[in-house]
Symmetry: C2
């Protein structure tokens, strides 16, 4: 968490690690990154990096240890089921130098669940109760087997419905910063026409991030200019100047939902 003395804006950052061969092989199209990007924004946490890594312990450990040192929070998805390819708990333990064992609270949750369903709580299912020693649990209202947290690293399931439910279970624990506000203004002008003026505005407003995203619609080229800032007055002022620049090029600014 960094606190800039000039503006007293509090910025809280996060990274996401998507664990799973099935994403890298193309078998499964990831749905968790987009969800988490939106959901983190809503609680004042800015996603700064994401990685997709294979089911290889050394790769997971390297990603976790790099990212947990650089960002306020890290969220992992995937690899916490009962089968041999679910190696996230062991990998998180290795990253923190912690032993991994059956978590007593998780064991109780699974016992109650399988007593209810009638399925056998065998050794494989008991794997889903394993966490690094001292981890706290993340509730799973969908399929019960919990996620967990070690320091600033939250470990969630890969199945999108379960990942989403787990995030809703844990989000009250997150301490967010000032939210990033954004505006999006489209115009039927080519990026190459807007670029020079936009560069000048970006230089004038270093505390407002500006991005340009070209599009082609109804036979015409255009661009959406997205501006983001944690300071509402600066965002509003930058937005006015962006609109004026568009008009100066005979373009009509079109407000968009962000």
């Amino acid at each position: 968490m960094s606190d800039s003395p000039q503006t007293a804006v509090v910025t809280v950052t996060a990274a996401v690690i998507i664990i799973g061969d099935e994403i890298l092989s193309g078998r499964t199209k990831d749905q968790n990154l987009g969800f988490l990007a939106d959901a983190l924004n809503e609680v004042g946490v800015q996603l700064h990096e994401a990685r997709v890594v294979a089911d290889i312990e050394a790769d997971i450990v390297a990603a976790v240890n790099d990212l947990r040192a650089r960002f306020d929070y890290v969220f992992t998805t995937g690899g916490i089921g009962p089968t041999h390819d679910d190696i996230t708990a062991d990998s998180i333990g290795a990253a923190f130098g912690l032993a991994v064992d059956h978590n007593p609270d998780a064991v109780e949750i699974l016992k109650a669940h399988y007593a209810h369903t009638g399925a056998e709580l065998n050794e494989a299912r008991m794997r889903m109760a394993r966490t690094p020693v001292g981890a706290s649990l993340v509730e799973n209202p969908v399929s019960k087997a919990p996620g967990f947290r070690v320091e600033n690293v939250y470990v969630m399931a890969g199945i999108p419905s379960v990942c989403q439910a787990m995030f809703h279970s844990l989000k009250h624990e997150l301490v967010g910063g000032d939210p990033v506000l954004s505006i999006s203004i489209a115009v039927y002008l080519a990026e190459g026409t807007l670029a020079k003026g936009l560069t000048a505005l970006q230089d004038k407003y270093p505390d407002v991030g500006m991005g340009s995203y070209p599009f082609y619609r109804e036979g015409r080229f255009g661009a959406s200019i997205v501006a983001r800032s944690q300071i509402p007055e600066r965002l509003a002022a930058a937005g006015e100047e962006i609109r004026q620049m568009m008009r100066d090029h005979d373009g009509e600014p079109i407000e968009q939902d962000e």
Copy 2:
């Protein structure tokens, strides 16, 4: 490229770097990772890692230099347009310690294109001709402004249609390895029932990667077991044993398209 003496299987690896604040902010849902995962498979290149990084030069340089040392190929998407937030060319130059300048061939392509469209080839549009010195170009049949290659790093556009067209332009240059073949067998049995037998099979077939992906359909729990290998005979033998294991648990194997 590694060549195992035991089986003479050639494995060629790659990483993808998706560059862009708009993916991390949730504004844009990435479509390039899934495309590249599939397309690389088809040419015998295995995607081993992917990263999404912000429009920050130091972050791009760190990702490029880490991944180009570890994998045979690196593919980047995004950040090669005409506006100030398009910093990929400069970042690739910084990663390789190369100066970045207007590429004469790229300048010719842009001159011909804008002469044809009648739009002005201004300074901003000329930015799209900048590459690290010595880079070779990647043709862009959609919107002309080219991608480029430096050593084992290919730089492509972020707009999905342009990214896909650029990949088709460059794929004949890639030297692939033995393709990864895969089978997918579904069964209406819970993962926790299959896990023990699957672990034993994974131990027996270290050259066949096995993954288990649970699903819930028509009111019943099931799992898809995906097996992958570069050695067809080993994949076939493993597949037979997986099917037999399912039958031993009173499950009917269902062949799936992979």
